[in-house]
């Protein structure tokens, strides 16, 4: 019981520490937000987001934006730990290593959500589309979990390589293809008002992916941080 308590306390401490530091400096969030808006702007001209095509490509544009902005956040969040040796500080604490993984994953997920919560109304406003549908929000919720679950694990690896600035997207993108396909399909389904039985398989896929990759990361995180 006591052990479980200290485990949860450590997870909470790491997430709290990241959020407290970020709310003060806002380095990471502002970078992610400005970058997201730029991506949407670029898509606007690249794809001619007029009223007709908008419905079919909105889901894709949103997810590409989240994924790109997400790598910025994941990279930065792990680099903070690595650069000043703080990762060693975490590893010196008498808690299981997976607590570090969950703590970092929770704060990374929180950053994703904050960015999404700002980008969604901005997009709705710019393109006169209502993105605040419960179903769509649920899909974004599930997709973000899968994305950060793998992203946190791989960013812990990429910051420890020589080529770390470019390494994360290269490692991450090929393995999150299923999340991307399922999330885009499910989001598109809600935007195009498809019947629920056509969306359900994608939501199931997202849930399965989330569970599998949280479990895998939980099992292998030791090997990523320990020598």
């Amino acid at each position: 019981m006591k052990k479980k308590n200290s485990y949860l306390r450590a997870i909470g401490a790491i997430a709290w520490k990241d959020l407290a530091a970020e709310l003060r400096s806002r380095e990471l969030l502002s970078a992610m937000l400005v970058f997201s808006l730029l991506v949407i702007l670029i898509f606007n001209f690249a794809l001619e987001l007029d009223a007709k095509t908008r419905n079919s490509v909105t889901a894709g544009v949103l997810w590409v934006t989240f994924v790109f902005a997400g790598t910025l956040g994941l990279n930065r969040s792990m680099a903070i730990e690595k650069d000043r040796g703080c990762l060693d500080g975490l590893l010196l604490a008498p808690v299981d290593r997976s607590a570090i993984y969950f703590g970092k994953a929770i704060s990374n997920l929180a950053f994703m959500f904050i960015v999404e919560i700002i980008i969604l109304p901005a997009y709705s406003f710019l393109y006169n589309i209502n993105l605040f549908q419960p179903g769509l929000l649920f899909v974004i919720f599930l997709g973000s979990i899968g994305y950060t679950a793998v992203g946190t694990l791989l960013s812990a690896m990429s910051v420890q390589t020589r080529t770390r600035d470019v390494m994360l997207p290269i490692l991450l993108f090929p393995v999150i293809v299923p999340v991307l396909i399922a999330a885009v399909k499910a989001s598109g389904g809600y935007l195009q008002k498809l019947p629920f039985d056509q969306i359900l398989p994608w939501i199931n896929l997202l849930i399965v992916y989330d569970i599998i990759f949280i479990a895998i990361s939980f099992m292998v995180f030791d090997y990523v941080v320990e020598e």
Binding site: R162, T163, V175, P178, F213
Partner: protein, 231 residues
């Protein structure tokens, strides 16, 4: 250690002989397919190379797990060998697939689940090799490599599944639903060529695998000797 073992030498020769026979069977012996014509002959090697790629893919995932359990660098060497072989053979399979697709479907590339998954495996393996290049400490390189092959080995089947779902919900214009080679009515002689090619490439896989592992061991030996000289 220094000279190549006789068994491996004979396996090298055997692989070459088998490859020659398999080529003969595929290009001359097997009858021309009625609908697709001569280009269908690509199919024998296409499936066989893809099969070897798949063998390497599974071998890499399994040895990755064994490495994490045992922390013995021997398994890291085997894993890297498997990845390299798989990378090359999936590439050949994809190219042969394109050659086949061109006259049949009138396009070089189709987003068929198998073909797409194979290309994603290629990207994962390229990322894997880049990851290894960026790490100096051999233990860490091995650990990260093993973790990444494991993540890849689990994500690729899900990717395959999701692309498949993508297709069934949105039927495609080109190609046929639910795969392609099932459609080929194979006559007896075709089957001989087909299974012989599979057998041949399995032998080639074992041969290359063995050679590559031996190369890795020799590399380690050189490294060891270098360290000794430096001291």
């Amino acid at each position: 250690m220094k000279t190549k073992p006789t068994a491996l030498k004979s396996l090298d020769v055997l692989s070459l002989i088998l490859l020659a026979i398999a080529t003969y069977l595929a290009l001359v012996f097997a009858p021309t397919e009625k609908v697709m014509g001569e280009v269908q002959r690509v199919f024998y090697f296409h499936v066989a190379t893809a099969w070897v790629g798949l063998l390497g893919f599974v071998a890499a995932g399994v040895t990755g797990v064994i490495y994490l359990k045992t922390q013995n660098l021997k398994w890291d060497l085997i894993e890297e060998a498997a990845v390299e072989i798989s990378l090359v053979f999936f590439f050949i399979a994809i190219v042969l697939g394109s050659i086949w697709a061109r006259p049949i479907w009138n396009t070089w590339w189709t987003w068929d689940p198998r073909l797409t998954s194979a290309s994603i495996v290629e990207l994962i393996y390229l990322a894997y090799l880049m990851l290894r290049q960026g790490i100096d400490d051999p233990d860490r390189r091995a650990r990260f490599g093993a973790v990444y092959t494991l993540v890849g080995a689990i994500s690729v089947p899900i990717t395959f599944l999701s692309i498949r779902m993508f297709r069934t919900i949105h039927p495609i214009v080109i190609g046929t639903q639910g795969g392609t080679q099932e459609k080929i009515g194979m006559t007896g002689d075709m089957k001989i060529a087909f299974f012989f090619a599979l057998f041949t490439f399995t032998v080639i896989f074992i041969d290359l695998f063995w050679n590559r592992i031996r190369l890795g061991q020799l590399e380690q030996k050189v490294e060891q000797l270098k360290l000794k000289v430096m001291e």
